[in-house]
Amino acid sequence: MNMIAPRRTRLVLVGNGMAGVRALEEILARAPDAFSVTVFGSEPHGNYNRIMLSPVLAGEKTFEAITTHPRCWYDDNGIELIAGEPVVGIDRAARTVTGAQGTTRPYDVLLLATGSNPVIIPVPGHTLPGVIGFRDIADVASMLTASRTGRHAVVIGGGLLGLEAANGLARNGMETTVLHLMPTLMERQLDPVSAGLLKADLASRGINVITEANTQAILGTERVEAVELAAGTRLPADIVVMAAGIRPNTALAKAAGLACGRGVQVDDGMRTADPAIYAVGECVEHRGAVFGLVAPLYEMAKVAADRIAGIADTNYMPAVTGTRLKVTGIDMFSAGDFTGDAETDDIVFRDAARGVHKKLVIRGDKLIGAVLYGDARDSAWYFDLIRSGTDISELRDTLLFGPAAGAGTATQGPEALPDTAEICGCNGVSKGTILAAIGKHKLTSLDQVRSRTKASASCGSCSCQVEALLAHALGGNYDAAPKVKPVCKCTPHGHDAVRQAIVAQRLKTIPAVMLALDWASTDGCASCRPALNYYLLCAWPGEYVDDARSRFVNERMHANIQKDGTYSVVPRMWGGVTTAAELRAIADVVDKHRIPTVKVTGGQRIDLLGVRKEQLPEVWRDLNAAGMVSGHAYGKALRTVKTCVGSEWCRFGTQDSTAMGIALEKMTWGSWTPHKTKLAVSGCPRNCAEATIKDFGVIATDSGWDLHIAGNGGIKVRVTDLLAKVTTEEEVLEYCAAFMQLYREDAWYLERTAPWVERVGIETVRTRLADTDLRKALQQRFLASQRFAQQDPWAERAAGAEAHEFKPLASVE
């Protein structure tokens, strides 16, 4: 025991971000056991894909989904992670680093990867709360909070980062303005024509862009309230995002006396002025250049790893980078020199109607730059031509039309590319590397290629091309996971697309939808027909004629079928309150029709079980006569509103929860919803009505009502999220109606509120309902559709409607 193992080299990484952790991975791959590693990070979590903060802000991804290295990764690799403690000093003589809380670690090799900081323009007011950059997950959280409580957002800077921030804020329901100093957007990546198209595309997403805008001051007392322009214009602002550039984070290196210019200066081997200290990422300056995209940083990581692991003396070579904007629905790509000069030629294509603009810049017989807007499918091909410096004189005539045109074949996409072509720009992975990995490791899915080669693992914009390569390599064996989940086997369209088509094309019958969307089967199936019936009912209240043949048996029969073919009957019991008269009537019905079982349900009402089909209309008639209507216990509809006794009787009750529940049930009963919908109202936080596992739950407090949404008992229990706190009964009803309608209009058929909210994000739902105008409009639409929905289906049938459902056609002996 206690044998002294050869001491491992002590490697300390400062900066737990994209470049630093990539360098660690490269080092571990080269020399798994040579180092004992400590990582210091200012941010209090493992490493995540910073690029993907934009989709997180836009509600398209969760933080978990973009976390690339959770804490267990560090544990599994024997790495000490000191997260949440920035390093504040390097003692180069003693070879130690010290953190803000005093943690000190010795090093043999130190790797700096401190990234960069957003440039905060020092206009008056720039230190007010509510003025932030867009750099880390904490910034995203601030923006989401602002979008919940405020209405107006101002983004300063119309580059990649600013526009992605603006898109995310707008997607969260904020009225968003982008202020850009220059005459056109993204002037470092786009020519003026594309920039104009982009401005129009953003306008159609509700983003207001002001160019040549000079910010004079940020106004506010406690926190930001407005932004003032030099022209005198004042824009209201609940949040201001500064996206006017980034500056390498050199503070630590400077204090340690390392040579710094704009960034920490490194040689071609990524070594700083001190031979024991390396630096990679956005914090460095290499041959006078600084960086802002991951592709070059990953190259640096490889070089540093080769050097630190002592494998090879590789050198970092700067290369052309390409840029894409990650705004869903906007397809653009830009690389190289797209402005040109007297010696260059431009080839330009423009299709204004489709919003497509392409510009290629050629010097001599080489392509040196490209801007593609509206259709960037061929970006990988152009990018390869630029980087390889290929002689394009032969291709020149058809260059603008992509690889397919020149090859004279119908192939489009990456099959046509040479093996050297780079498919994943972020990670520098070529077509050849991907194909080799597919062949060698028998890869069959995008995820596998991603984890093997890192292709499409960063910004994800090349996923389609990687999939195309998989399809090409595997032929018929590749089964691409569909991008959207189709409604059913009868159609490739997803639920959202179908709903949109119904409204946009004013489709008003099931056959019309099937015709317009090329349904594959003549009359659909048992999955799509009920979905379409619901979507039409929701889109055209009062106008669409319900199709009984597209209803599941329970909804057609207005009772729950049982395993023996009999039915159960559950009358509505408003807010769980009943009377002696009602109970007496129920007892009489049970006796008269010899109903075998009577049971109190989990939804605070009474179930009559074992009623035969032909008895149903009679049973309903008798219940109707005593004032009872259908409880819709059988429907994708408003089910029960559970309540507790509340302040009328209970010694803890703070509000009249029973009356509140009855009011809610009177408002919502009869409505059809994507899946069943349940409500509850509790009179105090003891929550006896279990409001926190309901689709819409209300809990009374001393000062009013807490509104909760998207809870679920049942198969997968989910506790509600708090939607809002309100004070009056009117507000409870208003929020409830608006929530019901948002769910009705937005969710997929058979999706309960819990999975729906998980899918679209609680923030999206909160912001939409926090907007007073939007909320009132939703409420109005709900109440309008309720005018047609609140007819008791039992009364209609007891009076003879749909009689054929309940009687045999004939009896034959």
Partner: protein
């Protein structure tokens, strides 16, 4: 429309085509069993014992689409013409010959 081979004597008129909703079904009761009579969207009629081969669900209560009906209890899809359960399920509901004579719906129940 199957079963034209049945002798005339066994055909019984059980109703008119319009008694059965398109893409719907009605039940014909016999001493021994219930028969579900289906009408497709293109006005063909089929008849099956009203008993799913799985757990005896009432097929007359299912959703009719194309040449099939989906059982209301556990969503098996049963072929109307042959009573056969569609893959991956296995089983067969008994068929009853049915045909149209003008708008009269005839079942060959004589032999039952």
């Amino acid at each position: 429309m199957d079963g034209h081979f049945a002798p005339d004597s066994v055909w019984t008129e059980i109703g008119r085509l319009d008694d059965i909703p398109r893409l719907g079904s009605r039940v014909v009761r016999t001493a021994a069993i219930d028969i579900a009579v289906f009408r497709t969207s293109d006005d063909r009629v089929f008849a099956l014992h009203d008993k799913c081969p799985h757990k005896a669900g009432k097929l007359s209560q299912g959703i009719v689409h194309g040449d099939s009906v989906t059982c209301p209890l556990h969503n098996w899809v049963i072929g109307l013409a042959d009573g056969q359960a569609r893959e991956p399920d296995e089983g067969c509901a008994r068929t009853v010959p049915a045909r149209l004579d003008g708008d009269r719906v005839l079942l060959a129940v004589g032999g039952l």
